[in-house]
């Protein structure tokens, strides 16, 4: 249960553009455990998306090491849906099966069944611009999951949705996580969402970004010490002086 899927040691990331140097984060130590939902929480610009791209191997650390023990594929749901507008919902979902890397998944998975499971089979033939935000997000999840990733990285997947749809999809995410034994790293701004979904919460703060604090929510829950309001307050106090945090703290 607690075996480690990804480990970052002393990671730092800088972007160089012309004479500009942006230090996104430094001295970052992070581990992702198998079958957990790890929440990355933090204010805008602190490097959450960058960190996900690094875990997904789309970018490299500037210094430090990243070790990935699992050999299964890492899926990613980006901050925007990024559906291919020239493909229908079903064709978007199927796309990954066309890649030679995924010949095994091709045998095991069937896009229509996946669409049914995700409650979007009725829009299988719709194009992305004809989908609602919630439907589009389910389609991107189906597209990511059809190639059987062992771990998925979710970048604010529910941020653009209305509260009802969001809460619905949060439950749904917990369900598919159990069913598919997924390891999930999820980025969010939303403290309530974090508390609802997390096994562990990692808080990042900017300038230069580091991990400030970690809460092991599931072991707190297991030992009966979990106090929703207390942890929420702790998180907000460490969140940094953003208007959002102050406002929520005042409530």
């Amino acid at each position: 249960m607690d075996s480690i899927a990804v480990k970052i040691d002393n990671g730092s990331k800088e972007y160089f553009k012309k004479s500009n140097r942006t230090k996104v984060f430094e001295d970052l130590n992070l581990e992702v455990r198998n079958n957990e939902i790890l929440i990355l929480l933090g204010p805008s610009g602190c490097g959450k998306s960058t960190l996900l791209r690094i875990i997904a191997k789309l970018e490299k650390l500037t210094t430090g090491t990243i070790t990935e023990t699992g050999n299964s594929q890492i899926g990613m749901v980006f901050q925007e849906p990024l559906l291919y507008p020239w493909l229908t919902a079903e064709e978007n979902v199927q796309l990954g099966l066309d890649f030679s890397n995924n010949s095994k998944a091709k045998v095991d998975n069937n896009s229509i069944e996946l669409l049914k499971e995700f409650g979007i089979d009725q829009v299988a033939n719709s194009f992305p611009n004809e989908l609602s935000g919630g439907q589009a997000q389910r389609v991107t999840f189906a597209r990511t999951l059809i190639v059987d990733p062992g771990m998925i990285l979710l970048d604010e997947p529910f941020a653009a949705l209305d509260p009802n749809t969001r809460s619905h999809l949060q439950d749904w995410l917990l369900e598919i996580k159990e069913k598919r034994n997924l390891t999930i790293v999820l980025v969010t701004h939303d403290v309530e969402e974090a508390l609802r979904l997390a096994d562990r919460i990692v808080l990042m703060c900017p300038n230069p970004s580091k991990i400030t604090k970690t809460w092991d929510i599931s072991s707190l829950k297991n030992s009966g010490e979990f106090d929703h309001n207390k942890i929420k307050k702790e998180i907000l106090q460490n969140y940094g002086p953003t208007p959002l945090a102050l406002e929520e703290l005042a409530q």
């Binding site: 890492i74 980006f78 990024l82 020239w86 493909l87 796309l95 890397n101 597209r143 990511t144």
Partner: protein, 258 residues
């Protein structure tokens, strides 16, 4: 393909067809009316639609006409092929390599604004007389819409789409085939469509130089023979073929897949 055809003809509803027909008939009517007021002894009086129409039917039943049409179409096809095989890669380079785009844009905008026919003397020095300079003139005119539209469609390509395919396990080649190509295809096809129209316009004057077949050559030939009604007929053929070419490229190169 059939669905593309259907889609195309669905857009041009009966109403559009009827109105186009009315427009054409009125155009010919006004033309005939103007001819009524032209002095019968003047050469201009031979440029009327009625003489033109009868010469048109005569031409359409003459084998020689088809030799000219085939020669012209062949030049369009070959010239366009050259324009495509150079224009599309050039567009990809322009769209992908920022430095290349920045250094070359001024040069290309400059070259683009030169009428392709200005290259005629150079084309003849380079390629002699015959078909080759005509291919060259068509290609050098048609390359710009293709290259610029290709480059623009690559500029519009969402970088995120490539990150998605990469996380789905695509190799660079698979990403190209499944993402870059379908995303840029409509822009490339639009460029080719514009280029075909341009090529057709360049063709006729280009064929007035040093070739002995083709519709451009034929226009000069009718002039030299003082067969002005045949000249009008040749112009009608050029117009009709241009129209057919445009409709064909629209249908064949329609960018919708579904």
């Amino acid at each position: 393909m059939t669905s593309t055809l259907k889609k195309y003809f669905e857009i041009s509803s009966i109403k559009i067809i009827v109105l186009s027909f009315v427009g054409l008939v009125s155009f010919v009517g006004i033309w005939a009316l103007v001819m009524v007021f032209i002095d019968k002894s003047s050469i201009l009086s031979q440029f009327g639609p009625i003489d033109g129409a009868s010469a048109f039917w005569d031409l359409m039943t003459t084998d020689e006409t088809y030799i000219h049409i085939t020669a012209s179409l062949k030049r369009i096809v070959v010239g366009m092929l050259f324009a495509i095989v150079t224009g599309v890669p050039l567009g990809f380079l322009l769209g992908t390599i920022k430095l290349f785009e920045l250094t070359s844009t001024a040069v290309f905008q400059f070259l683009r604004m030169i009428s392709p026919l200005s290259w005629t003397p150079l084309a003849i020095i380079l390629f002699g007389v015959g078909d080759s300079p005509v291919y060259f003139l068509i290609a050098i005119g048609a390359i710009w819409p293709i290259a610029l539209n290709t480059a623009e469609s690559i500029g519009r390509l969402n970088r995120g789409w490539l990150l998605v395919s990469k996380t789905l396990g695509a190799s660079p080649f698979e990403s190209f085939r499944k993402v870059v190509w379908p995303a840029t295809r409509p822009g490339i096809l639009l460029g080719i469509r514009l280029a075909v129209g341009l090529a057709w316009i360049i063709l006729v004057p280009a064929e007035m130089l040093g070739v002995d077949s083709g519709l451009g050559y034929y226009i000069l030939d009718t002039r030299d023979r003082f067969e002005y009604s045949e000249l009008i007929a040749a112009i009608i053929i050029i117009g009709i073929l241009g129209l057919i070419l445009d409709i064909l490229t629209r249908v064949l190169l329609s960018s919708r897949q579904h």
